[in-house]
């Protein structure tokens, strides 16, 4: 008696956007990456235990070798003047490129007119630009950029933003539609499709997934030194292309690894 009523309510379903093949491919890639990681961990564990045995066998009066100096490759995001801001932006570009290639083997930066307004040249990674320090009523500073990405024929736009957090009590900005535009925070307070969790580096992250029609945007944010938020997001492009219609080419897990890697390179 009830089912016809429900079927009437459901009506004619629209075409499905569930891409089972893409889900399986993504899971298989994730498993391969995890297996490689476990194999490496096992090698490291054996090496560490061998090292431990060696140190126990050594006589107490034998001098130990001095540890090699650790080179700190981290950098600061400084935007006090144009020169330092551009230097910081270049370092952020390099850090992102390294993190993307590490988290997403096989990704490329193609040249196509996608969602980006400034498509980069073929093969060139994201070029971060600096918004510098605003003046007067708008004291936020930011670094950001967008680049086309492609993975397994699926195309998307990868975006990075590092923006200073507003001082407490600062009123929300007003967007072009006249509505309040809440700041970018590392919380789900003003967000939809949002989830708070801990990233691969043990720090708090928020993951936000939003959709408009066949377009989906995935974003991961974390806080970085100097009271800033780092956001890396990816959206699919050209939903008329069947390879793109399902979802962006990068997963939220990959974005979380990228964010963790980049944020680990930034120091106070």
């Amino acid at each position: 008696m009830m089912q016809p009523l429900f079927d009437e309510m459901i009506g004619t379903p629209p075409p499905s956007t569930v891409d089972v093949a893409a889900i399986v491919r993504r899971e298989q890639r994730g498993r391969s990456a995890r297996r490689a990681g476990y194999g490496l961990a096992a090698v490291v564990a054996v090496a560490v235990s061998a090292g431990t045995l060696t140190s126990v066998a050594r006589p107490d009066d034998e001098p130990r070798a001095a540890p090699s100096p650790v080179i700190d490759t981290r950098f600061q995001l400084i935007s006090t003047d144009k020169q330092t801001a551009e230097a910081s932006a270049r370092q952020l570009s390099k850090a992102l490129d390294h993190a993307v290639k590490k988290a997403v083997p096989g990704v490329t930066y193609p040249s196509f007119k996608g969602i980006t307004s400034n498509p980069t040249k073929e093969g060139r990674p994201l070029i971060v630009i600096s918004g510098g320090r605003g003046s007067g009523k708008d004291p936020v500073d930011w670094f950001g950029g967008t680049v086309n990405v492609e993975l397994d024929k699926r195309q998307g736009a990868l975006n990075l933003m590092a923006i200073s957090l507003p001082e407490p009590g600062t009123p929300d900005k007003v967007g072009p539609d006249g509505k309040p535009s809440p700041p970018m925070l590392v919380s789900c307070e003003h967000e939809t499709g949002c989830q708070e969790s801990t990233g691969p580096n043990g720090k708090k992250i928020v993951t936000i997934v939003t959709r408009r029609g066949n377009y989906q945007n995935r974003e991961v944010r974390t806080e970085i030194p100097s009271h800033r938020v780092l956001s890396v997001s990816v959206a699919n492009v050209d939903a008329t292309n069947p390879d793109n219609a399902a979802a962006p080419p990068l997963t939220t897990a990959q974005l979380a690894r990228i964010v963790g890697e980049v944020s680990g390179q930034i120091k106070a």
Partner: protein, 163 residues
């Protein structure tokens, strides 16, 4: 996963996809969210296929994954917000006009139910799970299923009589 298991997985999922989408739509009344829920379900099923394929009732296992994913997300206040992306025209899906009035009234009735009560109604009266199966899917007692479905059923029967 072995090739035979993978073939089994694909065959199972493709035969159930429509039912999962319809059930998910009844829970959240949004096709985009429904497809997201089904995608999450397919992902989790793939990861635990060794266990799922050996379950006494694969359908109940899969439905448990889907329903609990929705209840978890619903608990986090998973709302939609407009975001501005660049371009291309969105091909909006619009339902046939003659369906709108009936769909809206039943949709409003379902929406008036709390998330768990709505899940009970969908599982019991659309997907046809027993009280015990519904209780296992939702991890509640059979008594809770009975009491939570009573009010919902009363409301829907009234709607059925009027339609």
């Amino acid at each position: 996963m072995r090739k035979t298991d993978e073939a089994d997985f694909h065959a199972y999922v493709s035969s159930r996809l429509d039912r999962w989408r319809r059930g998910a739509y009844l829970l959240c009344q949004d096709w985009h969210l429904a497809d997201d829920l089904v995608s999450i379900t397919v992902t989790r099923l793939y990861r635990s296929w060794a266990k799922a394929s050996r379950a006494d009732n694969r359908d109940a296992y899969a439905q448990k994954v889907l329903t609990r994913s929705w209840l978890t997300e619903r608990g986090r206040v998973w709302r939609r917000r407009e975001q501005i992306f660049a371009e291309p025209p969105e091909r909006a899906w619009t339902p046939p006009l003659e369906e709108v009035a009936d769909r809206e009234s039943l949709a409003a009735l379902l929406k008036s139910l709390g998330p768990r009560q709505r899940a009970v109604v969908v599982l019991r009266f659309y997907l046809d799970y027993s009280v015990e199966e519904t209780a296992a899917i939702l991890k509640v007692s059979p008594g809770t299923v009975k009491s939570q479905s009573a009010r919902g059923l009363e409301t829907l029967r009234a709607a059925a009589l009027l339609s």
